[in-house]
Symmetry: C2
């Protein structure tokens, strides 16, 4: 993040999606999951610019297909979401159900159906029990509040072990304070067939839809798109961002330094959420950050970082607290990134294990302690090029296998 | 394999690399592994055409670098190999050691050092204990015999749970019988940092080096290059093939139908070895064959098959005997292969679970029984295109995690 060099212009504040002015939310139980709230509504009390990012999987769930069309308008007032059923591979009925969810929320909220985005996560291939879902939507619409963000964050969880929220107050260069809020669910699952990443971001800053799209994509490129638990992508992944302008003033894109400050804060927010998701990956015992530097360009660094972060051999070594530098180098070597092994160096946190193509003697006890920590950094230098990338992942444990093998369709 | 439609022109025969005429082998213990033989020599009693395939990993072990240069000549007389130490990431000393191994074998065998290929597998980053290795080579050279193939197959194992050999007698269209033999080690490892695939193939058929290269590459494309245990490629992977012409007659490439018959048998041999390696993958409880058909072309089918075979979610479902069709479709969906989900159909062996984009009701007990077998077929049709591919893999079990997490560098 570029702005870490300067004094940061943001500070964490309490709450999540309802921390920015003008947003309310609710999470209620309608009985799709075995326990806990499972229907969420997020609502802006005024029109909001909207941007969205979706899974690139060819197999797209019904709510993804519906929301893709609606987000194209650049405006939205609300998001309705459920957990416990992904409404994926459900054919024409699934599309009708996703549209009915949005229509019912719109009716209860007094907005147009086209202004409501929809997201679902959970088991695939089963029709939604629409009676329960619709009564859940009714109940959620009645429960909307400024303090409802936490319940909404619970309602989108599947087998996440904890809710994921983050809010920042951003001091813009012109002296205005604006707020960013978010909730997310990550890549943990037992009941769902597929790990789904959902993230809903709000801001009371005034931002036009084209700018919102651009900065959301940039933020995702250094956060959600650098996140891997097991390399599998879902049918339902969605990131929605709503900007309602409730803080007033000029659009943030009217001034370059304002835009930069806001974009940096948004990237910070997304990186924090990506880290929360990696840390809560299926069976994860630790967050592993892979940093590759010295590559010919960023794309090459990204190829190497992705291969390392997705390597089962690296991830099992992390689980075993094993400073297994050979696996890291081999993953980089097969990644397609171009480098000379003689120029490569590798550290696990502060412990240097490989320098300019040759092993470095290190204290095994110290290395074990570094790797046994809840956060581990793998730092690979490929040469002296300007390319760099950072990936977020977790270790691969027995628990990952248990979670994914013991589920029965 | 095309020739399954016709009556097969080959039959299995006993033995491995020494089944073809004119080859001897030995496997002896020099103390690199904790137990069992760990140095192997394979020898042709006359000059042989040679072809070789190597890892595409940028990080190449010293023996790979040495053998790449030597195999370029198109001729070889012998292979010397060790297990227990990969001689990888060992710098200039490693290159000198790999050359010294070949030189010592050449001296004992009475051939030129340039005629000896070298391979190593085992732990990386440690210098070879050359005194032990050289005395092992002396001992192996004295022990060469027509019945030594089995010992050689044991000597190249690391944590393979069983040796992998295969021999075929091929009846050529002109009435000649020639033999193919092979030994391989697969992708199981505790002590080594990296899973290494080694395969040594012999034949007494007369084949010129250019043809040998072409047909070995073709055979590898449908066998070793369609094999995945965990998607990680090693620094040491090598496939060597020696053709010594001891069976006499015209070169097999002199006649198209002869060449076809021989190539088909070679592909059959390599597919059998790939299946043996997948079945003996780290922690594997079953062999999983992924067949993709109906793709726009073979390359697209291959992308989908590779993504499915490498998916941790699919592999844990296989371990759990779970007919989780959603994971298979999602892996194909993110593979980059182009298809319409509405045209896709999926079977697990005889059990159809998905047809033309919609789930099919199936008997869960029958599906469980199919998936609990030691061999499982995943059969995905993407549409009505001509493209097809077949991948070999295994399930992902607790034992995989244990093997790879409990090893300590």
């Amino acid at each position: 993040v570029k702005s870490t060099e300067e004094s940061p212009r943001w500070q964490p504040i309490d709450g999540g999606v309802t921390a920015p002015t003008g947003f309310t939310a609710a999470g209620v139980r309608c009985g799709l999951k075995s326990s806990g709230p499972d229907v969420a509504i997020l609502f802006s009390d005024r029109p909001a610019a909207a941007a969205a990012l979706f899974t690139r999987n060819l197999v797209r769930a019904a709510p993804v297909q519906v929301s893709m069309r609606r987000a194209a308008s650049g405006f939205a007032r609300a998001v309705v979401a459920n957990a416990g059923n992904a409404n994926a591979c459900t054919g024409a009925q699934g599309l009708r159900d996703a549209e009915a969810m949005a229509a019912r929320a719109a009716e209860r909220l007094g907005v147009a159906a086209e202004e409501v985005l929809v997201a679902s996560t959970g088991v695939i291939g089963r029709p939604l029990p629409m009676d329960r879902v619709l009564s859940g939507i009714d109940s959620a619409a009645q429960s909307l509040s400024r303090s409802g963000g936490a319940d909404a964050a619970l309602a989108i969880m599947t087998t996440d072990t904890r809710p994921k929220e983050r809010a920042l107050q951003v001091l813009l260069p012109d002296g205005r304070a604006v707020r960013l809020g978010a909730m997310a669910k990550g890549v943990g699952m037992i009941c769902p067939n597929l790990a789904t990443m959902l993230c809903f971001i709000t801001t009371d800053a005034p931002v036009g839809a084209p700018t919102l799209r651009t900065i959301l994509q940039s933020a995702a490129d250094v956060s959600f798109n650098c996140l891997t638990v097991d390399g599998d992508g879902s049918t339902n992944d969605s990131v929605f961002m709503l900007a309602n302008g409730a803080s007033g003033g000029q659009p943030i894109e009217a001034d370059q330094s304002t835009l930069r400050a806001f974009s940096d804060a948004l990237a910070e927010l997304c990186i924090d959420l990506a880290r929360q998701m990696a840390r809560d990956g299926e069976g994860a015992t630790k967050l592993v950050t892979v940093v590759v530097t010295g590559a010919a360009d960023d794309a090459q660094a990204r190829m190497a970082a992705s291969a390392i972060a997705n390597s089962n051999l690296v991830k099992t070594a992390m689980f075993g607290n094993d400073p297994n530098w050979g696996r890291v180098l081999a993953a980089a070597g097969r990644s397609g990134a171009s480098f000379r092994p003689e120029d490569a160096s590798l550290r696990f946190g502060p412990i240097e294990v490989f320098r300019n193509g040759a092993p470095v003697a290190f204290d095994p006890k110290a290395a074990h302690d570094v790797l046994a920590a809840p956060e581990v950094e793998v730092l690979l230098t490929l040469g002296d090029g300007p390319g760099a990338a950072r990936y977020f992942t977790c270790d691969l444990s027995y628990e990952y296998v248990r979670i994914n093998a013991e589920y029965h369709t």
